[in-house]
Symmetry: C2
Subunit: 238 residues, 2 copies
């Protein structure tokens, strides 16, 4: 296990999930190249487990469209910049839907929860803990999404989450090293979002929202262009 992914987060996972998490990280960080053929036997040797958990892992990655299960072997599809843009499209679509619902209801508890998470994000920045920051960032958005208690929107998110988690992790590790000042803006955008929810200010939501996505997307473009940066971002972990 290459440990690209923080180990303690995997505590309760089965072997299949662990392998999937590791492979996912390696595929998205281009440590495993597009076009590579993975076989169950080879992976079971590499990870020192039997074929059963490997099969579980491959099935998971197939659902995320990171690999394609063929007659013989699984072909790595990988992820391009276009994919990343598309994933942001989808996130934007889902969260826009969520906000339309949020504006129609009382959000006292939600706001309280978001403020707590945001404070933790600030601490993570202070201690330059990119991993922790990433997980809190994800949690922030997940909290918003799940607040509307819409099961099927929740399902969409849970299917998308693993890949988004990888992207954010790599992105934030990179920023932490090379664009530390970015975090001011990220925090500001999140504060704006909370404010917008408090005021039920639809235009402000839209603004905060698009701003955040655009900022995040624009700023991180450099990373995905540069193989060396990607490698450093994936090697970096406590």
């Amino acid at each position: 296990m290459k440990a690209f992914y923080p180990e303690q987060r995997l505590a309760a996972s089965s072997m299949g999930e662990r392998v999937a998490t590791d492979l996912r990280m390696r595929i998205i960080s281009h440590d495993i190249e597009k076009g590579t053929i993975l076989s169950e036997n080879q992976l079971s040797k590499e990870y020192q487990v039997s074929r059963s958990p490997i099969r579980d892992a491959l099935k998971l990655l197939e659902k995320e469209d990171l690999i394609e299960l063929k007659k013989m072997g699984a072909e790595v599809i990988g992820i391009t910049e276009k994919d990343i843009a598309e994933i942001y499209d989808v996130r934007l679509m889902i969260e826009s839907f969520v906000f339309r619902r949020i504006l129609k209801k009382d959000n006292e508890k939600l706001i309280h929860e978001l403020q707590k998470i945001l404070e933790m994000m600030k601490i993570a920045i202070k201690y330059k803990d990119a991993n922790e920051f990433s997980f809190k960032d994800i949690e922030f958005h997940e909290t918003i999404i799940t607040s509307i208690q819409h099961r099927h929107i929740g399902i969409l998110w849970s299917n998308l989450k693993p890949v988004v988690e990888c992207l954010i992790l790599l992105d934030m590790r990179h920023r932490m090293q090379h664009n530390y000042e970015d975090f001011d803006r990220i925090i500001y955008n999140h504060e704006l979002l909370i404010q917008a929810i408090i005021e039920k200010n639809e235009p402000l939501v839209e603004e905060a929202f698009y701003k955040n996505f655009n900022d995040v997307q624009k700023q991180s473009e450099g990373l995905w262009h540069n193989p060396e940066s990607l490698k450093r971002a994936s090697d970096f972990h406590e």
Copy 2:
């Protein structure tokens, strides 16, 4: 295998997928009740296959949130009317996204393809073939969705598709028996949609679109209320 699902559609599937398809149909049609605990051993006896394909099936259904994998046994979550409304929410969200893209591009091939599928839908109605009609209906929407070549929207759809397929199958079988005249309106709505794409008429798209979803959703409500109708719909197959 209870054969709620047309057998010939399963031609190239593995045992796991077949079992998943059958279980999905049984869960959604309330043949298996919410709260039921499924165990791998019990299912492997019932379907006369080993635990391996059963495990595959359960993993698939878990991703669709139809069951929940617990420490011991898999609990059937099932599907309520609220879920069905939520699934329509999600479909509406996805297809709205798709249409915003479609209006920005040339759609000659798409229109041609849709017209072909629509003609087949008409034939299916003429011969009262609810199954074939359902699959063509799904194909119609899938054709629209995939036409924008947006991989991650495609992934969302492919995750949603199996459940939607079940819902449509049950719904259309019911209508074919009890609301045959509904099909006139369904066809009309699809024609409207094609027309809207041809004219790149955004308001018309919206109208055709909401109309179709509302019609379909409203009209089918009766089915999901009535356990007897559901049973008949699931028993009905050539």
